[in-house]
């Protein structure tokens, strides 16, 4: 058989297409329909979810990285609670202990208290807070100075029931 008759034979063979070929469009439509359904679900559920998640992440980042933003949130009722809930514990940052109440070797008690803290030649006024480590419910008070980027004075109070409260003093630097 020469090449031309082989060619004609092959063309004849190729004319016999499989029956399955007749339904190729139906299969494509069915696949597209499944894809469209998935896309609709993504659009109506996942995209809003991702948007909310993104907004939340940005909010958490701002609360923890931007002091003015955190302060502004603190003035809005619902946001202040949310901001408080999402603020990361500052103890993990670099800080320096400025002062604490303690006992010396002879058992003398050195209380920590007052309306201000003087540190590094600067005067820090405790805005609206008076520290009183002689309070019967207070076991330990420590004042920290956080380094950049916070540059804030924080107070940590451990109560006699072993619960702890830590918060910025919102000091004014003079």
């Amino acid at each position: 058989m020469n090449r031309n008759s082989e060619y004609n034979k092959l063309l004849k063979e190729l004319e016999n297409t499989p029956l399955k070929l007749d339904f190729t469009l139906e299969r494509a439509r069915a696949r597209k329909s499944v894809r469209d359904k998935r896309r609709r679900v993504r659009k109506t559920i996942f995209i809003p979810l991702y948007t909310i998640a993104a907004v939340f992440v940005i909010f958490v980042a701002l609360v923890n990285l931007s002091a003015p933003f955190a302060e502004a949130c603190g003035r809005i009722p619902v946001l202040s609670e949310l901001a408080e809930a999402v603020s990361l514990p500052k103890e993990s940052g670099n800080h320096e202990i400025i002062g604490w109440n303690s006992y010396d070797a002879d058992g003398n008690y050195y209380p920590l208290g007052g309306r201000n803290t003087i540190y590094g030649g600067n005067y820090y006024e405790h805005a609206g807070i008076t520290i009183g480590s002689e309070d019967e419910f207070v076991e330990q008070i420590t004042i920290y100075k956080y380094e950049y980027p916070y540059d804030e004075i924080w107070i940590s109070t451990i109560f006699t029931d072993r619960t702890e409260f830590a918060a910025p003093l919102a000091v004014k630097i003079k």
Binding site: N2, R3, N4, E6, Y7, N8, L10, L11, K12, L14, E15, T17, P18, K20, L21, D22, T24, L25, R27, A28, R29, R31, K32, R35
Partner: protein, 163 residues
């Protein structure tokens, strides 16, 4: 182009697409998969087709890319190399279908489209993004290698459904 026109075009083209894929991939199942994938891809990206008059060329390109992807996948598993143009004797020894499959890529594509899928030389050139002269020259080289005596413009047994 609306979906009903798309359906009409596919109805007219599917045999030609199948023949192209069959020659490209050398088997019914693989050819069917390639055609299915091509029709699906064309359907989902129909809105991207700016000029409906080039639908045939467009879908042929999708099919060729699909076939190339399949061949790349296969190459990782089994080695089925093309033969160099100089291996005239090796081409002679192969059945036509196998010889076509083992043609160098730049010759295989025009031959399949022109002599098996039923494209004209102009359509073949457009589908492969070649100049018409280049496509014609490649067809001549391929026919010489395959020892086929067909003209560039009229094949021995023109397939009835044309791209």
């Amino acid at each position: 182009m609306g979906e009903s026109e798309f359906a009409d075009r596919i109805e007219r083209l599917r045999s030609s697409l199948y023949r192209t894929a069959y020659l490209y991939l050398g088997g019914e199942a693989a050819a069917m998969d390639a055609v299915d994938e091509t029709v699906y891809r064309a359907l989902v990206s129909l809105k991207k087709l700016r000029r409906p008059e080039y639908f045939d060329t467009w879908i042929t390109r999708i099919l060729i890319n699909e076939c190339k992807n399949e061949l790349r996948r296969r190459k990782r598993e089994i080695s089925m190399d093309t033969l160099p143009e100089k291996s005239v004797e090796q081409f002679d020894a192969l059945p036509l279908k196998d010889a076509v499959q083992r043609l160098p890529k730049e010759l295989k594509e025009p031959v399949i489209l022109r002599y098996f899928a039923g494209c004209t030389t102009e359509e073949t050139a457009r589908a492969l993004k070649l100049k018409q002269g280049t496509a014609a020259s490649r067809l001549r080289r391929a026919l010489k290698l395959l020892k086929l005596e067909l003209t560039e413009e009229v094949s021995a047994n023109e397939p009835k459904q044309r791209i």
